[in-house]
Amino acid sequence: MYEGIRSPAVHMPKTMNDLVSASTRFPNATFWAGGTFIMSRHDYYPTRESNDIISLGEVPELKRINRTDRYLEIGSMVTFEQMLTVGKQVLPGLLQTTLEGTATKIIRKQMTIGGAICTPQSRLSLPGTLSALQAEIEVKTCLGQKTETRWIDINRLYDRHGTLQLKKNDLVTRIRLGFERENFSSFICAGNPMINLEETVMLSFACFYNQAVINRFRMCLTFPTTMFLIPHEIDMMMHGTMLPLSTQQIDRVVRSIMEGVFSSNEHEIPAIQLERARRFVESAMHELNAQSLSER
C-alpha cells in the first residue's frame, strides 16, 4: 500500500539561527507547527508528494509568552491551551472565548497560534478574532543568512478571500496584542471550519465605548474558504454613535455588511452561510444593546 512513498526529511532546528539556515537551505520544506491542520487533511498520508519538514517545535523563542508594559507578545508555537493559562486579566475576553470555543482540550494542547494563523487553504476562527483585536504579527523574512524582521497588522496577512499573503521565505514568529480591553465582545461560530467549509461562518466582534459612546467598532466575518471580511466603513460609520442602537441603526449595519459580503466575493456563497452571517451580526448588535442597557 505504501510502496514508492518517500519519507520526508525532517529538520528540527533548536535556535532561530538554525531555523533561518534550514529555511534557506530547504526552501520548499513545509514549516510544521502543531500539525493538527496538516494531518487532518484527507490526502495527507499516504501521498507521493511529500515536501521536507522543518519542525518548529524545538525553538524556545517561538514558545515564549512575554508581557511588557504595553503589549502581550505570544510566540507562534504557543499552544491554545497554554494561552488559556495566561489568565483572564491578561488575555482579552474575545480571545479567551475564541480559544475555549475551538475544538476540545485534547486538540487545543496540540494546536498552535502560529499554525492557526498560517493554514494555507482555509481560515480558522483565530485570525478573525486577532483582527478584531487589532493584533500585530512579527514576520521574519529569510534572505540567505540574514533575516529581515517587521511587524505588520494581521489584516495584511490575508486578502479579502482569506488567502494567505505570506511568501515562501516568510515566517510568523510572534503575535502582539495591546492591553486595552474591549467593553463588549462576541464570538459566534456555527459549523466546523476544519470539516464543513461550505457551511461554517464565524463572527468576531469587539466594541470599545466610553459612557455609551462608541469609540471603536471592530468586526470580522470569516467564511473559511471564501471570505475574510473586515468592514472598515462600519467602524467609521459607528464611531461616535450612542448606545443602545436603534432598530434602524442595526438594520443599516446588517445591510451594509451584507452588501460588503456580496460585493467582495465573485463566487456564489451558499445560502446557509449568508443567512448565518446576517443572523450573527444582528445577534451581536442586540447583545451589545442588552449590555449597554444593563450598565445604565
Binding site: A9, T104, I107, I195
Partner: protein, 170 residues
C-alpha cells in the same frame, strides 16, 4: 526514519516514514487490536492514546514526534491499576461505552481523571473539569452511545475511586 520509543512499556525501534500518523503505525506495524480507525481527519475520535501521559488523537501525531516518547494504548492501559477505577465506575453506573468506542472513551475519561488528581495535589494549571468540559471532551469521540448524564455519572464514580487512591502521579 528510525524511531526509538516506548509503547505500552515495551521499548521498540520502528522504521517508518517520518510523516506516518501514529494510528497507522499502531495498526500496521504493531497490529494494535483496539485501534480501529481510518478516518484520517481527526473527526471520529476513535484513535485516542496516551502520549507522555496525555490523551491525544493518534491520527494527528506524525512519526517524527515520537522520538523517545512514551505511548500507552488501551491495551497497555488495561494493565495499569488506574484502569480498575473506570472499570468499577462502568459497573457501578451500569453505563459503558459501546465496543466500538470503548478504548477511546476510556482513555479520554482517564485524561480527565488525571486533572482531578493534579488539581488536588497542589498548584497546577489543570483545574478540575466542570460538567460542560467533561461532556465536551468525551464528545471528541463522535460515537453517540453515551448521553451526557451517563458520561457525568461515569466520571463522578471514577473520580471518587481515584480520590480514594490518593495518587500523586501516574
Amino acid at each position: 526514519m528510525k524511531i526509538e520509543c516506548t509503547i505500552d512499556n515495551k521499548h521498540v525501534l520502528l522504521t517508518v516514514n517520518s510523516n506516518k500518523p501514529l494510528n497507522l503505525i499502531l495498526m500496521d506495524e504493531l497490529e494494535t487490536s483496539h485501534m480501529e480507525t481510518r478516518c484520517r481527519d481527526g473527526n471520529c475520535g476513535n484513535c485516542v492514546v496516551l502520549l507522555q501521559d496525555e490523551a491525544v488523537l493518534s491520527c494527528l501525531i506524525p512519526a517524527f514526534r515520537l522520538k523517545g516518547a512514551k505511548i500507552v494504548t488501551f491495551e497497555g492501559y488495561q494493565k495499569s491499576r488506574f484502569w480498575h477505577d473506570l472499570e468499577r465506575a462502568y459497573e457501578d453506573t451500569g453505563s459503558h461505552p459501546c465496543p466500538h468506542c470503548y478504548a477511546s472513551k476510556t482513555l479520554i475519561f482517564e485524561s480527565l481523571l488525571q486533572t482531578v488528581v493534579k488539581s488536588e495535589s497542589g498548584p497546577s494549571h489543570d483545574e478540575e473539569p466542570d460538567e460542560t468540559t467533561i461532556v465536551r471532551e468525551v464528545g471528541l469521540n463522535k460515537c453517540p452511545c453515551l448521553d451526557a448524564h451517563e458520561i457525568l455519572d461515569i466520571f463522578r464514580a471514577a473520580a471518587a475511586y481515584r480520590r480514594r487512591r490518593r495518587v500523586r502521579r501516574y
